[in-house]
């Protein structure tokens, strides 16, 4: 009886986490894989989370930990399919009729950034993760997260202050790589 209660409480706790963080994780997964796979991987993320339930006490941020699990599962899935991860976030963007024309220019500029920079930006602005959380998800130092985000803002700032051809040069670094 008691065991069933413990089991139920664990499952209930995971369920509460699912409704709390699920939408953000699903959005993140949709950036890495197609929609249908993202739905499956979201469920896999929480099934996997149960397997490592004991670690939940020691993690600094549950949200970041769930993102890490989701990322790991998504990258494994892509590896199995022998497909490289390709960040695609354009289809998730909220467009409005009276949109600032500069926004599209900024989007185009962001798309030209290296994938890891785009991922860092999206984790901050779309998923609202802190520097530390992004660092944990991407397994990179906090300083690198900070410099990537500063670099991106610097480039967007330059784009907004100069002409479009010159902005193309500023954002042209991805082609050089």
């Amino acid at each position: 009886m008691e065991e069933n209660n413990i089991q139920l409480s664990r499952v209930e706790y995971l369920e509460s986490l699912y409704y709390q963080h699920g939408p953000a994780i699903l959005r993140y997964l949709k950036r890495l894989v197609d929609r249908q796979t993202a739905d499956d991987l979201l469920q896999d993320t929480f099934v996997q989370a149960l397997s490592h339930f004991d670690r939940l006490d020691s993690v600094v941020s549950i949200r970041a930990w769930l993102f890490t699990v989701a990322r790991h599962i998504a990258l494994n899935n892509l590896r199995r399919k022998q497909v490289t991860a390709n960040i695609s976030w354009e289809q998730l963007i909220k467009h409005s009729d009276q949109e600032d024309p500069r926004l599209e220019r900024i989007r185009q500029a962001i798309k030209r950034l290296p994938d890891e920079h785009q991922e860092t930006m999206l984790l901050r602005w779309q998923d609202q993760l802190s520097y530390e959380e992004i660092s944990e998800v991407l397994k990179i130092p906090v300083g690198t997260v900070r410099s990537r985000l500063h670099n991106a803002i610097g480039k967007i700032r330059a784009l907004l202050e100069v002409d479009i051809p010159l902005a193309g040069k500023i954002f042209g670094e991805r082609n050089k790589r």
């Binding site: 995971l14 939408p23 929480f46 909220k94 901050r124």
Partner: protein
């Protein structure tokens, strides 16, 4: 403050990653130094536009929570865990039993060997604790040792005196020509 430091702090602020107390200090500094206000405005505007550019629709279509799957997995995990514990305990018991049996067999074999060798019981010296050092230390500080030493010296002096008496008597007999 250097312009690079201000720029860096402004970027952290636009990314909402600056602690509130630092943010207050930065605001006060910018208000006091109007030359940085243009840069602050530009950074804030860029960050706001970038955030707006990548903002997406909130996902409402969340697939159902895989409760059944998770509960089944939880049960399976528990079973595996209990099996692991059970196997570990069984392995420990088995190892203990094997050690016990092998030791008993060895003792029996030793005993049999002793009887077959003419009933000579060999003393396993290794089983006797080595207390020689301890005994020496005890003996060194014991009163008995000093008593023995005293008695030995006394006996030696008595023996020496007796020997001298005998030597003197022999000498006397020699002088008288009796020997």
């Amino acid at each position: 403050m250097k312009p690079e430091t201000i720029e860096s702090l402004l970027m952290d602020q636009s990314l909402e990653q600056l602690p509130p107390n630092v943010e207050e200090l930065l605001e006060a500094y910018i208000a006091e130094h109007p030359q940085h206000q243009k840069m602050a405005k530009s950074i804030r505007q860029s960050a706001a536009l970038a955030k707006q550019a990548v903002s997406c629709e909130t996902t409402s279509e969340l697939p159902p929570f895989p409760k059944e799957r998770i509960m089944n997995l939880d049960k399976t995990n528990r079973r595996i865990l209990f099996c692991k514990w059970g196997l570990s305990a069984a392995a420990c018991l088995l190892i203990g039993a094997l050690i016990g049996v092998s030791l008993t067999q060895r003792q029996d074999m030793d005993r049999q060997q002793q009887f077959t060798n003419g009933g000579i019981i060999a003393v396993n010296m290794q089983t006797v604790p080595d207390t020689r050092g301890l005994e020496t230390a005890r003996a060194f500080w014991s009163a008995e040792k000093y008593e023995n030493l005293f008695m030995k010296n006394r006996n030696a002096s008595v023996e020496k005196k007796n020997q001298m008496d005998i030597d003197r008597a022999i000498e006397k007999f020699r002088k008288r020509g009796l020997i």
